[in-house]
Amino acid sequence: MTSDAPAVRAPALEMRGITKRYPGVVANDAIDLDIRPGEIHALLGENGAGKTTLMNILYGLARPDAGQILLDGKEVTITGPSDAIARGINMVHQHFMLVPVLTVAENIVLGDESMTAGIFLDRTEADRRIIELGERFGFELDPDAKVGSLSVGWQQRVEILKALYRDAKILVLDEPTAVLTPQETQEIFEVLRRLAAEGHSIVFISHKLYEVLEIADRITVIRRGEVVGERIPSETNEEDLAELMVGREVSLTADRGTSHPGESALHIEGLFVKDDRGQGAVRGIDLDIRAGEILGIAGVAGNGQDELVEAIVGLRKPTAGRVTLEGNDITGQKTRDVYGAGVAYVPADRHRFGLVLSFSIADNLVLTSYHREPYSRGMLRNDAEIKRMADERIKEFDIRATSAEAKAATLSGGNQQKVVIAREFARDLKLLVLDQPTRGLDVGSVEFIHRQVIAKRDAGTAVMLVSAELDEVLELSDRIAVIYEGRLVAIRDGRTADKNEIGILMATGGRERSSGKGGTAA
């Protein structure tokens, strides 16, 4: 199972028999993990498998109930994040911990008292080291640039630089590629390889199998709090890893079957929408989605996708243009009326929009239908019916919860999204708008949701799929539209589209500015 080659160097970090119990669950059950110097070690597992708990223990955010942590062979007790940082352990979080209005240099020295000369920040020294570090690892950052003006890929580099600046020996990256384009991912991989070559140890947390195979020297797979296997990329493949991770065979590519598109369901004409700051975010989009067809919208986050989606469902008023649903004008209508016309919307941020975490699963399952029969009778809630429906959906959508009364906050990410899906997919729909439907979810949940989407398409619903996961768009879409700076710059057939071409179009917008109107499904 493990490689037969003897470990040449002693582990930089060793975690032995780490056990952590929470009421009702064993989050980590005697986990052993060793990270060698200069190694890129991938930690693979479904959400809720215990990766985060393990890393929180390493970072001093949680205390293990049992087990030891050894750094360079010596046992240590890590008391908190500042202690972890002092010991050379740094973490780059999935959601960046940067202050957008501060400069790169200010962000990097933030919270690092060692760089103050007396009571003043030693800025010139800081700037010098930032430039030097950047050069050494192949990315030059202007220390005076405002972080808010940087692209996501560069912001991530600031995070990495921040860790290096603190002399990180062990760098933990939590889902680092979730927000990047394929090209940016390659660039960040290059950085990581250089870091490893200089002797830094990297823990790479991910659920993207092909990435793990590409970047890691070793892969440790965790399932339900236990280490279920260790692999060397050259001796394994995606299917093997997925099976280890989920504990059963999974199909990695959704079987999308053949689509039978019908009449045009959603028709968008000359749509212009402004963002919160009053800037044009959607700048002239024409689009048709036919019944029984999945149209994928590929694009780097922040190119107008959110505004486009919000304009369709009535959460944002377009400044110009028309949106029609089966010929009926729904432009600028109230959200509730749009839903009533047969549109369902799965929002990108399920914590902020899709769910109310402090409310029960049952309440969340009626979030968009509480006012309709049979969940209401006049002005009253029909609690009996809500409960009955909730129990039914929990079973039907395999939502793992103690009861319908459990708070949504107690569910894992995958199960939370299943609540949203169960709620929105339950009606007869004309149009289904999906914004990042599987972001941050584990393979098992992704597979489940993809099957549901395809089933909905086969039932004759027009599906609009917005995703930053290019693979997801490629896998599910009958047609792919690339959005760039508020315009659709290309439409490709989903079955024949070239991943590289789409990636380049996403990043640059391409040369041509095709109108994106019409187009044929496969």
């Binding site: 839903y339 929002p347 109310v356 968009t368 509480y370």
Partner: protein, 374 residues
Amino acid sequence: MRARLIRTWGVLALPLIAIALSVLVGSLVILASEWLVAGELKPGLAIDAYAALVDGSVGSERAIINTLTASVPLLLGGLAVGLAFKGGLFNIGVQGQFMMGALGAVAVGVQLRESPAVVAIPVSLLAGMACGAAWGFIPGFLKAVAGAHEVVTTIMLNFIALAVLAAAVNGPLTVQGSVSPITPDVGNASLLILFGRNGHIGIIYAPIMAILYGFLLFRTTRGFEIRIAGSSPDAARYAGMSPRRLIIWTMSVSGMLGGMAGATDLLGVSHQMASSYGTTVGFDAIAIALLGRTNPIGIVFAALLFGALRTGSASMQIQAGVPADLVGVLQATILFFLVASPVLKRLFRLKSVESGIEETSTFTSTYGGEASIR
């Protein structure tokens, strides 16, 4: 069973600890002030003071009736603040809504003072509720339309209410020829007395309002909307609710409850209005809503506690010689410890306790940190 006990404890722990700590702080204040004034330490004094406080509030049938009567406007005011908190709004204007409610009730009550009580009482009460609702509608409307923060507008409306009240009592409502400006008695519009000398009918209908409050929030679709909008305005918008309409609705109903508190106080206790008419109900109501964790049952108990403190404070002053103002110290420290609940949680290692009181976060963070309404 065990799980249920833990859950109950989780809800009750913070309020109970806050009360216990404030009793402790109160004792220290009593001892310290005695020591500073009289120069001697009398450890028994604190116990005497609290004994007198308890005796004066629940020690006799009369005391109990007085406590209940004092609790009625506090309960209605607590529900007013609580409803707004549930909807994510901080109605600090219950004070003004109370004043307007009292003014509306006296204006109509004076006109109906000779009419049959069956007509005079409900009509005067409704007039007060309508005035309170109008006084709640204004900040709700301003927030929904212009984004004006309700904390700022309701505080300003409190002052306007005071001025309106003074103008009315000095002008159109005043009794001709009286020494100081005062309205006539409301006569037949006075609330029926059911218990003892002053136990008016509010003791019956205020708890009914608490039941209706619970029914509204947890059994109706509107209550669901209010609670969703209060917990997550973004989710409310996503779900197709109209935050603007909800803000106006919630503030109006909250104001109506505040107005009812004022009308009840006027029709039930003072029966006429002097230009010096005043109260602290509007502000006590904030502490009551927080202490009761915006739960109807919790608010009932919190109002009873505050009513008892008010009623017992006189006996405490007479029997133990401790100034009645100590009650203000107790109420303020309770509020202080509630707002500091995250600190309490840490201090007492309350793991099972619900993470913070949502309402306190509205209380502490609402001012200035405005979520945009679109």
